[in-house]
Symmetry: C3
Subunit: 319 residues, 3 copies
């Protein structure tokens, strides 16, 4: 109950006021976040689950897209650090009364908010906030652009389970075109020295993505034997009005993870999925509930990653 | 501000990890909850209203049916014990993105939730959670099955006002067929030695209910002179599409509590109602606001009962 | 972290159990609130942002009209004092199940709520609550009647920026007819010795309002040179179905604040707006973001005013 900032050590100096994406972070900065997350695990498992280091800090969740899971993860993370949280949503907010997005954010900041966690359907929305606010801004997903804390929790899970990220081969499978999770994972994994293969239907894997430094594959079975980790992106029925693949059944057949594919893969294959999962689509129940799946570890690590990011930005803001 | 678990004594050893219903609790276990609720009343009235015994514990409200009142009661109860709370609702949650009910719950648990309070329209839903979660599960109403904390607060109110439950005659009036409140009250009251009469329109009082050990009556005026407590179940307009009784006016005339009926009843008759009440239907304003009504005591006792249940399950979970 | 009530001094004895409007407060009582708000600014800026003086107090937000901004301001204010908060909204509440407004409030109070913050479309709704509840009631806007904390934060902002209120000339511009903000400002400003001019389209400025002691004007340009502060009421598109003025463009032309009008006004003119603002309607971006605008100060002061009001009522209630 009386941990202080002194008990928490940060591997390398932290200079960022905002966490907008992994594209512009260095390998050292990413490692700093992962190390701090590990440290929060030790701290909260060893003793009290609730710290007091961010007592008096107010974190606002500014979610313009529905996301119970990410919002709750940020909420619990903030409160574990001793911070208070307030939630804003698009419906019922001042935006529906004609206020601009930036005015809404400035108003929230003027209420004494120190950190803003923002999800928005428009790529760059959190960057716009960061330019106008003194508060620290965390991007919790901006359209098809980035979702840095998701990629960080994926990397933390891999590092915990396999001991390292450098030198591993990670396959991102599914809708690469629209996935902010894929984009953030690509930036983060490459910076930490992994080999990244993106794999999915040709309609959902743009050739141009090789410019980022990844390899492209259209046949999951061909790449599986080389792969240490497979990250199964969600088929977002609610987003994809257009028909990017013929049918769900065909998608599941070609790109879904199932028992057969597990048996053809490396022994220690890690199966990640950002969730919420569609059982029978991205993976079968046999895989989801099997020993290769680290899906629930990802959720728990999400808490630790968000604690680390909130802590670093709050400290940078002088809290 | 510095009460510890040592200040709180539990009458009998508590072994249950979950609170799913009163059907499978013993009389001793029910008494343990009621005793602990009394103790919380003394503790919070005497000194500070806010305890710290569940500091670091996270309670998730997983409500798939609207219920501001029950959810708020659990929220305030949890925070009085020093716990943090997070709310989930069906709308906007991952369920609408195709996730299964159990996956949603496992995800919430992986975020570090210790206790899950669940309301669901399907009987048995909290039992399904209990089979999959390490977290403690409290049933806050599952379809027409059970609503144990409501029955416990009814019993606490009776015990506080009349000094005992054993030997009393309690009438449950109204829609017995669809009422989880009736079912939980029946189990609890019988275990504690009360005589229970269920009374309502024949369409809403199934004959088979006598198998549980209760008596059945269709005429409220005939049984009133024998009754110590009458519990007026809510007419749930929002649930009953079918016509189980001819009209609201007729229901109120035959089964509503009014001044005339009060005058024909025992002197110290207690009038309970789970609420929200429909004035002029289950009871007249004269009765609702009169000296026999203990409706607001029930609400206050709801807080104490929920504190007791949360505390017992958190302690069992080793928090 | 360990401020106590002893550190907080109140200028004059406080006797009110509720804050329903400024009409019935004395000048001394209003000054007491403003002084206490100033004090909270010093306390929270100097040291820890979070106090503990209302630890154990529960504040319920009972909002029957959407208002993220006011509700959040009350929430943050309450938590800065160490209180817990619970939110109720019209949708999903017991009201939709047939419960009366007063029964809902009594139920909430029975759950241990100490202070109720109420917004309602019906003038007098908070007064009805105040007659039935032991809890303190704060009016957060009742129809077209009053919105006392908004007027108080406007006055605090004026006093901070100009050093006094007595002797100043304040223009309230826009829809005076439907504005609870105007009404509360009129009462408060007149009590503290300001001269108040209301100005707007004839359809929205009833002649009878002079009975309150204000002057009426229909031409903003004529009065501007005499004015120290101009408070630009929101054009409430969502409320005004009827056509009170020909077009938005015409409104902006005649009553909107713009660079030209700023240049014709007094040098130190203060521009207030309760927000959320419609850029290009009540004021141009040039004015909103310019040196005369104190809009964001108003938001920050809202927090301090609400802390002061919650504190005074909680103390009066013996918390």
């Amino acid at each position: 109950m009386t941990e202080t900032m002194d008990d928490i050590s940060i591997t390398a100096p932290w200079q960022e006021r905002h966490l907008l994406g992994l594209e512009h972070l260095s390998a050292e900065e990413i490692a700093t976040i992962l190390d701090l997350a590990d440290q929060f695990q030790t701290l909260t498992e060893g003793g009290s689950k609730k710290l007091t280091v961010l007592n008096g800090t107010v974190v606002a969740n500014l979610f313009f897209e529905n996301s119970t899971r990410t919002k709750t993860s940020f909420n619990i993370a903030a409160r574990r650090l001793g911070a208070d949280t307030v939630d804003f949503s698009a419906s019922g907010s001042s935006l529906s009364k004609g206020e601009t997005f930036v005015d809404t954010a400035l108003t929230i900041e003027a209420m004494g908010v120190d950190l803003v966690v923002c999800r928005h359907r428009t790529p760059g929305a959190p960057h716009l906030l960061a330019r106008h606010l003194k508060a620290g801004v965390i991007n919790a997903g901006d359209g098809t652009h980035e979702h840095p804390t998701q990629a960080l929790l994926d990397m933390l899970t891999i590092r915990q389970k396999l001991g390292r990220i450098e030198g591993l081969t990670v396959a991102l499978v599914g809708d690469i075109r629209h996935s902010r999770v894929a984009r953030s994972n690509i930036h983060g994994l490459l910076k930490l020295g992994a080999r990244v293969i993106v794999c999915g239907p040709a309609t959902l894997v743009p050739r141009t993505i090789t410019q980022l430094g990844v390899e492209v594959a259209y046949n999951l079975d061909e790449i599986l034997p080389q792969v240490d980790c497979v990250n199964l992106l969600r088929v977002q029925f609610e987003r994809q009005r257009g028909a990017f693949f013929p049918s769900i059944a065909e998608y599941a057949h070609l790109f879904g993870m199932n028992g057969d594919r597990i048996r053809k893969a490396k022994d220690g294959l890690l199966v990640l999925a950002p969730g919420p999962i569609n059982r029978g689509v991205e993976l079968t129940p046999e895989v989801a509930d099997g020993p290769h799946s680290v899906i629930l570890n990802q959720v728990s690590n999400g808490l630790l990653i968000r604690m680390a990011c909130l802590y670093l930005l709050a400290k940078k803001a002088g809290k």
